[in-house]
């Protein structure tokens, strides 16, 4: 099982590679992260012009029909360059949800905007006490005439400060932790009574706590079937995991090649440190960890593309295994770079932080290994 890319996929990969190589080196990224907004609208536009935002969507909705494999290809390269822009949030999460469960009117209204980079989206699913449980929702949505009225607080919403639109999970019925009764809503980020408290994330992104106090949302902005939001979010999480795993694998490849390179040039005790057997074995283990992660990533992407049974269990398995592999590689890359690995100046620490962040998003490796086990027992 090794993915042989089609000509189209090769073309996608080489065009992303070229763009990032020419415009998104580490210095360029540093300037983007330090800028007032914290991301680059110019690059955001550039990605869309290259067709990256249309790539995963089906041709029915005006996309290029590349599916999860094109997401994988894009995200691996984004991982290599630590791309900061909210592609996952806008295209994979929001775009994916709208394509999957949106009404024809919603697809028509929102997907072309997303593909043209005209709107940025964020997904507000987590809450202060939810940890990684998609069904643990206390935000309420009450039906009132032609509207829903939303109240509650969402936690750690990545990209919310950049977003035009949010997708918010809220409870239309049932108790916190009930699987049924959670619904999804498209909410304008600039709605009256919607408050953002922004903060910076460990990997240089912007996020926010989002509080809604009786925010009126037209009933037409209900996304998917009322009360069935958890299933939609689960499918969305599987796709997000596919994207994040690909990004992690891209980052791991960069860490490994940088560490190997460094070990061949850095001299201590009159020899390159790569000549020390203890470090050779360490780097062999890093190589093996990356190989396994790469294989699982491909396996998951193929499974997502075919929408195979057991997909969600595989997604959790991959998130866990690739999470642990990423942490091992990131730890050792910092360790082998010594003090340099600790500095903000060198890219190594930034890969470390991105991998740490990926390991939190949608559940850490320990959460997903448990879910992997539980889904097996349930089968």
């Amino acid at each position: 099982m090794d993915i042989q890319f089609t000509e189209e996929q090769e073309l996608l990969r080489s065009s992303v590679q070229r763009l990032l190589r020419d415009q998104y080196d580490f210095d360029a990224r540093r300037k983007i992260v330090a800028s007032e907004e914290g991301f680059s609208r110019k690059h955001w536009q550039g990605f869309a012009e290259l067709g990256l935002f249309a790539a995963p969507f089906s041709e029915d909705v005006g996309g290029l029909g590349g599916g999860p494999l094109s997401t994988m290809i894009i995200m691996q390269e984004f991982g290599r360059h630590l791309v900061i822009e909210p592609f996952v949030e806008t295209v994979v999460l929001a775009g994916g949800l709208i394509e999957d469960v949106g009404s024809p009117a919603q697809r028509e209204a929102y997907l072309p905007q997303i593909m043209a980079a005209e709107s940025i989206w964020a997904l507000a699913w987590a809450e202060g006490r939810s940890r990684y449980d998609l069904s643990n929702v206390t935000m309420t949505a009450r039906r009132q005439g032609d509207s829903y009225v939303l109240s509650g607080t969402k936690a750690a919403v990545i990209a919310a400060p950049w977003a035009d639109k949010l997708i918010v999970s809220a409870r239309t019925s049932g108790e916190p932790r009930d699987r049924s009764g959670v619904s999804l809503f498209v909410v304008d980020r600039h709605s009256a009574n919607l408050h953002l408290q922004g903060f910076k994330t460990i990997d240089g992104r912007r996020a926010a706590e989002v509080t809604l106090i009786d925010v009126q949302v037209p009933a037409s902005q209900l996304l998917g079937t009322e009360g069935e939001g958890v299933a939609a979010l689960e499918a969305c999480r599987d796709c997000a995991i596919g994207a994040l795993c690909a990004e992690a694998v891209g980052a791991m490849a960069e860490l490994n090649s940088a560490t190997l390179e460094y070990s061949k040039t850095r001299k201590q005790f009159g020899s390159t440190i790569g000549s020390f057997q203890v470090l050779q074995h360490r780097m062999v283990d890093m190589f093996i960890a990356h190989q396994e992660a790469l294989s699982l990533m491909q396996h998951l992407s193929l499974s997502l593309a075919a929408n195979e049974a057991g997909l969600s269990r595989l997604a959790s398995g991959a998130k866990s295994k690739i999470g642990y592999a990423g942490r091992f590689i990131a730890d050792q890359a910092v360790q082998l770079h010594g003090g340099m690995g600790m500095t903000d100046e060198l890219n190594i620490g930034h890969y470390f932080k991105r991998i740490s962040s990926i390991n939190i998003q949608f559940g850490d490796p320990a959460f997903h290994v448990l879910r992997f086990a539980q889904l097996d027992a349930a089968a």
């Binding site: 936690a155 003090g339 932080k353 740490s356 850490d364």
Partner: protein
């Protein structure tokens, strides 16, 4: 776990405990004392200890030490660390002070020791260089004798808190022809001397603890040479031994485990499958601490009987840092989604930080703790030391 204390030692422990409780400045109880205090704030405890005469337990009494027994010194370490006090600046009191009273001349002792004790001088360590990390003996900073001065040129790095320092103790090469260790001297340099430049290095947690120090034609009076020219390696090794003594960090680990338990209790409901995982992970790390603490107590008991601990310091450094890294990682994991957030530097109340207050420093601590297995002789180097000195390999 406690030592079996004599009545006198138990009374001493109670006295220390009460003194800390009554005197440790509230102003220093900030979320992250290592990064959040000004220079003046971080000196408050130092000055209180100096007034009490307890600033330098390691030093002989004649130079201002406390005259405590090994057991008492250990009790002091244990109590101050359990209480979460910020230790007095190690580079001054634990590192350069002992070098000066052991190898310095009378004029140097008279000039420097009282100001180290009082906290009037802040010292930093000029050891590592860009090309000399684990292989410290390869330092290239040059000191050339010119009349009654040395002219020093070079580049020191990872210099902790050099931004506050009045003095730097440096390893410099005085004999370029000699083999690695042989041509090194130990030189004290006033940071105000023309040609000394400090450049901040920001670390991955966003904080400014470390620096580059550039030395350009710096004129250093010959009287600032410690001991003999080209014998600096002996003094440096003596100092490194001191650096690693308290690296087991039992008190710190114990405090952080208590905080971790508090976070897990508040954040993860007992019904959540993750709860049991954390319970097990915490139990494992508690056992790690227990085993290391037992080892430390065993070594202290041996030292009290006059037995040389050998390279026990390397064992403490390896395990102490691994354990603390693990605790910071568990804490970062325990706050779940909030682990994405990190405080901005310089720290200000104007910046919003989400999540439980106990977890506000979890991200920065997790990131900052990656340094522990690198600095003070990387853990790989410590393993080499044990392999050679203990196992005879």
């Amino acid at each position: 776990m406690e030592l079996n204390l004599s009545k006198e030692d138990a009374a001493f422990r109670d006295e220390v405990r009460a003194f800390i409780a009554e005197n440790y400045p509230q102003e220093m109880r900030v979320p992250n004392p290592e990064t959040d205090l000004t220079k003046e704030q971080s000196m408050l405890w130092h000055r209180i200890l100096h007034k009490k005469g307890w600033i330098a337990p390691l030093w002989p009494k004649e130079y201002g030490g406390t005259g405590w027994s090994i057991t008492q010194r250990f009790i002091w370490e244990q109590e101050t660390s359990r209480a979460g006090t910020l230790p007095p600046l190690a580079f001054s009191v634990t590192m350069v002070g002992p070098v000066i009273y052991t190898y310095g001349n009378d004029a140097q002792k008279k000039k420097f020791l009282p100001r180290i004790l009082s906290g009037d001088d802040w010292w930093c360590q000029g050891y590592s260089e860009p090309g000399s990390g684990s292989d410290l003996a390869s330092v290239r900073t040059k000191a050339v004798r010119n009349g009654d001065h040395y002219i020093v040129n070079g580049h020191k790095t990872w210099t902790t808190l050099a931004q506050h320092a009045d003095w730097i103790f440096c390893l410099v090469r005085t004999d370029p022809a000699a083999k690695a260790q042989a041509g090194i001297s130990f030189l004290l340099i006033d940071m105000k001397t023309p040609g000394v430049t400090v450049r901040p290095i920001i670390t991955i947690d966003g904080s400014h603890e470390i620096n580059d120090v550039f030395l350009e034609d710096v004129r250093v009076p010959v009287e600032n040479l410690i001991g003999e020219e080209n014998k600096g390696w002996t003094y440096a090794k003596f100092l490194l031994g001191n650096e690693r003594t308290s690296m087991a960090g039992i008190g710190r680990s114990t405090r952080y485990i208590a905080k971790l338990k508090k976070i897990v209790k508040a954040e993860i409901p007992a019904g959540d499958p993750a709860h049991l995982e954390f319970v097990k992970d915490i139990a494992r790390v508690e056992l790690d601490v227990l085993a290391l603490e037992a080892t430390e107590l065993r070594v202290v008991a041996q030292m009290a009987r006059g037995i040389d601990p050998g390279p026990a310091a390397s064992l403490f450094k390896i395990r102490g840092t691994e354990i603390f890294q693990n605790i910071t990682e568990l804490t970062h994991r325990a706050i779940g989604n909030y682990g994405l957030a990190i405080r901005e530097h310089p720290v200000s109340a104007n910046h919003f930080m989400p999540g439980p207050e106990d977890g506000h420093t979890a991200s920065e601590k997790y990131l900052n703790a990656r340094k522990l297995s690198i600095y003070g002789g990387s853990n790989e180097i410590q393993r080499n030391i044990i392999a050679k000195a203990v196992l005879g390999l």
